[in-house]
């Protein structure tokens, strides 16, 4: 025994030496050194924001080490090569409700995705998924999309995903936050089972539940980025002279932090005074399709009461709360606040409400103080009271130090406190709190309860709260137990305990659940006959087909789950081709012109009639004078004005060569130039006719110019425009889709999977790119068909050449999207960037209206390096000029080169670690 302990101490799984970490100027870790023994379950305990999560993310290599060194499983985690090698041996579950999950994918698909990343075979995957989901109670929900799971169930799924392979090091960051007691018990059973199968497995857990930490082998108590104490739970309790770990933890804290902390007592609730109940629900029911989330729930809560809502994950607690706040209209039944029926648009009722959602729903872009100020203002507090009130609340929730930082950089516990602060800032009459204390450390939790009790007893604020902490449930005046949408029992805690003949509330709770649903509540424990898992594929390949395939499959599924996006993307391109093809006609006709005829002779009217008879021009009513001319041109009423000078007819007859003034509206130069072309042509026709009347005056020209309009002899717009549109459409939509697909993961959090799994950037990005590439290629085929059917544009040259070019070009466009995605983590920014970065170059600089050679300056440079230029040449070459590969060497070479550069650059610029 002693020998084994020595071995473990001498061969630590993780050795941390002198590690410091800063977020901007704030120190998160302060010269930390620790050795985490192999094969044990080690806990990190401590208040929120003391650096536990930072430390865990450094250990797993998800975050870059700034100072000091960390050795994990006998290698330096800062070394990229070692990190790649050791990655499959580490499993990491980051904090937050299902942050690393894909919400449109089902439970099964999420698990399959992670299992493939670790190279498990098909049978192995099946076995593990069934095993894990059975032991966590997720088995009946395998087909449900992860986004439709309740908060606690997401958490369980996150756990299953972390446990899907056999790691040597399991790192769990507050794994049971928001998980109900029964599932928590099942969860730790599962961990213990895995540990007994795998004696060398090292588990590191950060937790806020002291009753869980009680069962760990080794604990580190942390505060302010430093380690306060280390040892087994028994040692820590002995050291502090306490009998419960909760108290030991509080004792370990420095004086300043535990100041004012005392055991909480709840004064009795005064008897009802006959006023209407604060909250009343009558037969409240909510159905989502065939699924009944809440099934005829009734309760009455009197003013000033603290009403606890307990239940397993996914039993309808949040849905009930949403109906009470008016966010969700009930399918049937009704609810009343202070005797008045709650409707969705009742502003006055909302003023009295304070609501805290389960997941963080304040603004990451505002500082804590700004968030609170905004809430106070929106809740109609008087402006002059706000600064004082914000200060008060910040002080109360111990948020002063972080008041001017942004929530995104803060740990969950502190974000929870901020949400709470926001819910109470306007002193509401009713507080509806959805798991307000999940992930909050014990001291802060007790502080918070003191506030709740004070609010309830002194200010008669009614509190409706859900929680998974039994000691908190005990403090409630009454508790309602919910399961599968129904209320199982309602009463005071002692009543419920008595009714089940239990010793503790937790026991009573579990018994109620087991009675309500005997099959679900008992986890299957038939693991004895499952063979021990084979070791994970030890050798790590730089590119794994399996991992790539996993990404590819997942992206495909996400695309298919969103048929609207798919249909829009495919048909969007077709519609655009049609609209632009017909609409953006370069042929200009129906031009309006007017005449300022100061001669009014037969000659001038002859000239005018010649013009007005053509299909290009429409004559407007004559111009009276220069003032009229100026006004009508300014107003854009006429595009052209012909001015005949006085004596025009006479001069013409005398052969004095009179001049007609042509006024053009130059506001749109291309139109002016077209008019100029028309008028020149018509003028010379007119002259020729005049000359034929009088042949003596017409000398033979010294030379003639014969013009051959090649490739498009009728100089029509359509044959020239449609081939040019294809490169635009194939660029814009695929690039936007690809860019958003990555940035979306960054914004919603699932990018963590890239940081902490063996997935490489190449696999990740190619897995993203190929679905969009296939989609883009398919839409290019459709575009060709459409061009043929609707515009009669046939492939005159080599079809093979065109298809090859389209394939290469789609690589470029999707690759550009991925390249844009490496620049930002905000979806709005990348959307804007992708639109600007594709439309402008393709339309302006790549030869659509003007050949690249004719451009100057930066435009020419962009046109030269942008893939749309060679693509346009190939498109026009094949579609208009009947060319094949042989004549298109240069653009093909350019396209290949550009595709390669874009893809490689996209991979290199994407980050594999969070900074």
């Amino acid at each position: 025994m002693e020998k084994e302990k020595n071995f473990r101490q001498n061969n630590p799984a993780v050795t941390i030496k002198d590690v410091c970490h800063f977020y901007r100027k704030q120190m998160a870790l302060d010269h930390i050194s620790m050795a985490i023994p192999t094969g044990l379950q080690t806990g990190l305990i401590g208040p929120d924001g003391v650096g536990k999560s930072t430390l865990l993310s450094l250990i797993t290599g998800a975050r870059k080490i700034q100072n000091g060194s960390i050795e994990v499983l006998h290698g330096n985690i800062a070394d990229a090569a070692f990190r790649r090698e050791v990655c499959p041996r580490i499993a990491y579950m980051p904090q937050g409700l299902g942050k690393n999950l894909y919400f449109t994918l089902t439970v099964e698909e999420n698990l399959q995705f992670f299992a493939r990343l670790f190279g498990n075979s098909k049978e192995e995957r099946r076995r593990r998924i069934d095993d894990l989901t059975r032991s966590t109670g997720l088995y009946p929900f395998l087909d449900r999309p992860a986004g439709k799971l309740s908060g606690g169930m997401k958490q369980k799924l996150g756990l299953c995903c972390a446990l899907i392979h056999d790691p040597d090091l399991l790192v769990l960051d507050e794994p049971t936050t928001g998980v109900d007691p029964l599932a928590r018990r099942q969860f730790w059973d599962l961990i213990n089972r895995i540990r007994s199968d795998h004696p060398l497995l090292t588990v590191i857990v950060a937790t806020a539940y002291m009753d869980e930490a009680q069962h760990f082998d080794h604990l580190f108590a942390m505060d302010d980025g430093r380690v306060l104490a280390e040892g087994s739970p028994a040692e820590l309790m002995k050291k502090t002279g306490t009998t419960v770990l909760d108290e030991a933890f509080i004792q370990l804290l420095p004086e300043s932090k535990k100041a004012g902390h005392r055991t909480i007592t709840v004064p009795p609730l005064p008897p009802p005074d006959g006023s209407p109940p604060a909250i009343q629900a009558e037969g409240l029911t909510k159905k989502f399709g065939s699924f009944t989330a809440v099934d005829h729930v009734d309760f009455q809560i009197q003013q000033g009461e603290i009403f606890g809502f307990l239940g397993s994950n996914g039993c309808g607690k949040t849905t009930t709360m949403r109906m009470l706040t008016g966010l969700l209209p009930p399918t049937s039944g009704q609810s009343f606040l202070f005797g008045e029926k709650m409707t969705g648009l009742d502003i006055q009722a909302r003023r009295k409400l304070g609501y805290m959602t389960q997941s963080f729903s304040l603004y990451d872009e505002l500082t804590l103080r700004q968030n609170l100020q905004l809430c106070a203002r929106l809740c109609m507090m008087e402006e002059r009271q706000i600064p004082e009130r914000v200060r008060e609340v910040l002080h109360f929730f111990h948020l002063e130090e972080v008041a001017d930082t942004y929530p995104e950089s803060l740990p969950m516990g502190i974000r929870q406190r901020l949400s709470l602060a926001a819910a109470v800032i306007h002193r509401p009459r009713i507080l509806i709190l959805d798991e307000p204390t999940s992930g909050v450390d014990p001291v802060a939790r007790d502080n918070f309860w003191e506030l709740l009790i004070a609010l309830s007893r002194q200010d008669k604020v009614t509190i409706f709260i859900t929680t998974h902490f039994m000691n908190e449930a005990l403090r409630c005046d009454r508790i309602s137990l919910m399961h599968a949408g129904r209320s199982l029992a309602c009463g005071t805690a002692p009543e419920l305990i008595r009714a089940q003949k239990a010793n503790t509330l937790e026991e009573a709770f579990i018994r109620y659940l087991e009675k309500a649903a005997p099959d679900e509540a008992i986890p299957e424990k038939d693991h004895a006959d499952t063979p021990p898992a084979p070791p994970p594929n030890g050798k790590r390949k730089p590119f794994s087909f399996m991992r790539w395939y996993s990404c590819f499959l997942r992206e495909n599924l996400e695309l298919l789950r969103d048929p609207i996006r798919l249909v829009l993307a495919v048909f969007g391109a077709l519609i655009l081709l049609l609209v632009i093809g017909y609409g953006a006609n370069m042929d200009v006709d129906d031009l309006s012109f007017a005449v300022l005829d100061r001669d009014r002779s037969a000659e001038s009217s002859n000239y005018i009639n010649n013009l007005a008879g053509s299909r290009y021009f429409i004559e407007q009513k004559p111009i009276r004078d220069y003032f009229d001319l100026d006004r009508r041109m300014r107003d854009g009423k006429v595009n052209m004005v012909l001015e005949f000078p006085p004596g025009f007819g006479k001069k013409l007859q005398r052969g004095e060569s009179p001049a007609i003034s042509v006024w053009l509206d130059g506001a749109m130069p291309s139109r002016a130039r077209t008019i100029q072309g028309y008028i020149t042509g018509m003028h010379s026709t007119w002259l020729r006719e005049k000359q034929q009347e009088n042949p003596a005056a017409s000398p033979r020209p010294p030379a003639d110019v014969e013009i051959r309009y090649r490739y498009n002899p009728d100089i029509q717009s359509l044959p020239a425009m449609v081939p040019a549109e294809i490169p635009i459409l194939l660029m814009v939509i695929p690039a936007i889709l690809a860019a958003l697909s990555v940035v979306r993961e960054k914004e919603l959090g699932s990018i963590t999977n890239l940081y902490v799994t063996p997935l490489t950037r190449t696999e990740f990005l190619l897995g993203k790119q190929i679905p969009y590439l296939l989609f883009a290629f398919a839409s290019s085929l459709l575009l060709l068909l459409e061009a043929y059917w609707l515009f009669d544009i046939t492939v005159k040259g080599s079809l093979a050449a065109l298809l090859t070019a389209m394939g290469l070009y789609c690589i470029c466009s999707t690759g550009l999207g991925l390249l844009f995605s490496s620049l930002t983590k905000s979806q709005i920014a990348v959307l804007f960037l992708a639109i600007i970065g594709t439309i402008i170059p393709t339309v302006q600089f790549c030869g659509l209206t003007q050949p690249v050679q004719s451009l100057t300056g930066a435009g020419k440079f962009i046109g030269t390096i942008y893939p749309a230029s060679p693509m346009l040449i190939i498109c026009r070459g094949v579609l208009n000029k009947s060319l094949t590969f042989a004549q298109l060497h240069t653009p093909f070479l350019e396209l290949i080169l550009m595709a390669a550069v874009i893809v490689v650059l996209g991979i290199l610029l994407q980050k594999k670690q969070a900074s």
């Binding site: 966010l327 969705g344 909302r350 003023r351 304040l362 603004y363 505002l366 929106l378 942004y406 926001a422 609207i564 996006r565 829009l568 969007g572 519609i575 609409g583 006609n585 370069m586 200009v588 006709d589 041109m633 107003d635 854009g636 013409l652 060569s657 009179p658 003034s661 053009l664 509206d665 506001a667 130069p669 291309s670 002016a672 130039r673 072309g677 020149t680 003028h683 000359q691 010294p702 030379a703 014969e706 051959r708 309009y709 090649r710 939509i733 936007i736 889709l737 979306r744 709005i828 959307l831 804007f832 960037l833 639109i835 030869g847 003007q850 004719s854 451009l855 300056g857 435009g859 240069t890």
Partner: protein, 374 residues
């Protein structure tokens, strides 16, 4: 509820939007780029008109006259390539290396002097619509002028029966830079207004912050109005900057009309475009969806607005449909005010239409948003 509180809510929610925007460096950077450098690049890159048109000459004559003609193709209008042989014509045109190829036959000069009226062949790449048509006209004129000069005919002999004096109003040299710069600003304003407002609204839902807002005494109307004013402010500032600094100072374009009138119109346009963005945000369920919707709406709206090709020449149906697109009216009054110096009397109808469109779109967005919020 008293409207003082309403205004307060709208104000503070708008401030929040501005702060959010201020924190997004990449987005801000792109906005600044688009209205400054991007504008400069687009405006100065070249034009639909004839500048740097690539012309090659096959000279089989090598005479004084043929050299004189060649020397007449001067930059910036033309870019004369080194001489090529007859065999190089087809490959070169196939690859798109030349837009025009002029073939001068053997004994051209001799035949001209002998009065045999020989024929020059001009090959034009007609897939390049914009240059093909006008360019070949210029080339013909240049050739005739040079030949006339060569054979030294007295100007009287060459005199036409009637001549034309062309006067271009508002843009004497028909400079494309002027036009492109203004149209670029116009399309950037539209793009930005729709994207910023639409995605800002959608993001609230995607991030879950909308739920929190709606439990507070805040109405959907206030949320929408707050996005409207904050985004309009940002875009308006950008527009004012690009007209007064970029157009007037950097690109030296003599903007004729009143900046204030233009900005008033921009404000109306922003109202309509941003409302359109919000309608899209209530239709789309996620950012990728709104991304595609944006393209689907934006591209035709921009291309058919009359900013690239005149609306007169579009089919009747499209013209009627485009009356419902804010960009049509925006382009119309922008050209009127900035180029033609038109006053309110000329643009009031466009203003009114924009305002009505904006009201309609805002109403649709409001109704849809309200329905989805409860």
């Amino acid at each position: 509820m008293d409207w003082k509180q309403k205004i307060k809510n709208i104000f503070f929610l708008g401030i929040k939007e501005l702060r959010t925007l201020g924190r997004d460096g990449v987005l801000l950077g792109t906005v600044v780029y688009v209205f400054s450098l991007g504008l400069y690049f687009t405006a100065t890159a070249g034009s639909d008109g004839i500048t740097h048109a690539v012309i090659a000459v096959v000279d089989e004559d090598h005479s004084q006259l043929s050299n004189r003609i060649k020397d007449a193709f001067l930059p910036p209008m033309f870019h004369l390539m080194p001489e090529i042989s007859l065999a190089e014509v087809d490959p070169g045109m196939d690859e798109g290396a030349y837009t025009f190829v002029l073939v001068i036959p053997h004994d051209f000069e001799k035949d001209v002097l002998a009065g045999k009226s020989p024929v020059l062949q001009l090959n034009v790449d007609a897939t390049r619509m914009s240059q093909a048509f006008t360019g070949s006209g210029y080339i013909q004129q240049i050739i005739q002028r040079e030949i006339a000069g060569f054979i030294n005919r007295a100007p009287e002999e060459n005199k036409q029966l009637v001549s034309i004096i062309q006067r271009n109003r508002f843009n004497p040299n028909l400079s494309e830079t002027w036009f492109k710069a203004v149209m670029d600003i116009v399309s950037n304003i539209t793009l930005l207004a729709i994207i910023l407002t639409g995605s800002a609204l959608l993001r609230e839902r995607e991030r879950g912050t909308l739920e929190h807002l709606l439990v507070m005494p805040v109405t959907p109307f206030e949320i929408m109005a707050s996005k409207l004013w904050s985004m309009a402010l940002v875009v308006l500032l950008a527009a004012a900057f690009s007209v007064s600094v970029m157009l007037r100072e950097v690109l030296q374009i003599p903007v004729e009309g009143s900046l204030a009138l233009f900005l008033a119109g921009v404000l109306l346009h922003l109202f309509a475009a941003a409302s359109l963005g919000m309608v899209l945000a209530t239709v789309a369920q996620s950012m990728p969806q709104i991304g595609i919707l944006l393209i689907l709406i934006l591209l035709p709206m921009q291309i058919l607005s009359g900013g690239t090709t005149p609306q007169e020449s579009m089919p009747e149906g499209i013209r009627i449909l485009m009356q419902f697109a804010p960009t049509t009216h925006f382009v119309q009054f922008s050209q009127a005010i900035l180029f033609r110096g038109a006053g309110l009397s000329a643009v009031w109808l466009a203003f009114l239409k924009l305002f009505l469109l904006g009201c309609g779109l805002f109403f649709i967005a409001w109704k849809r948003f309200q329905r989805s919020a409860t």
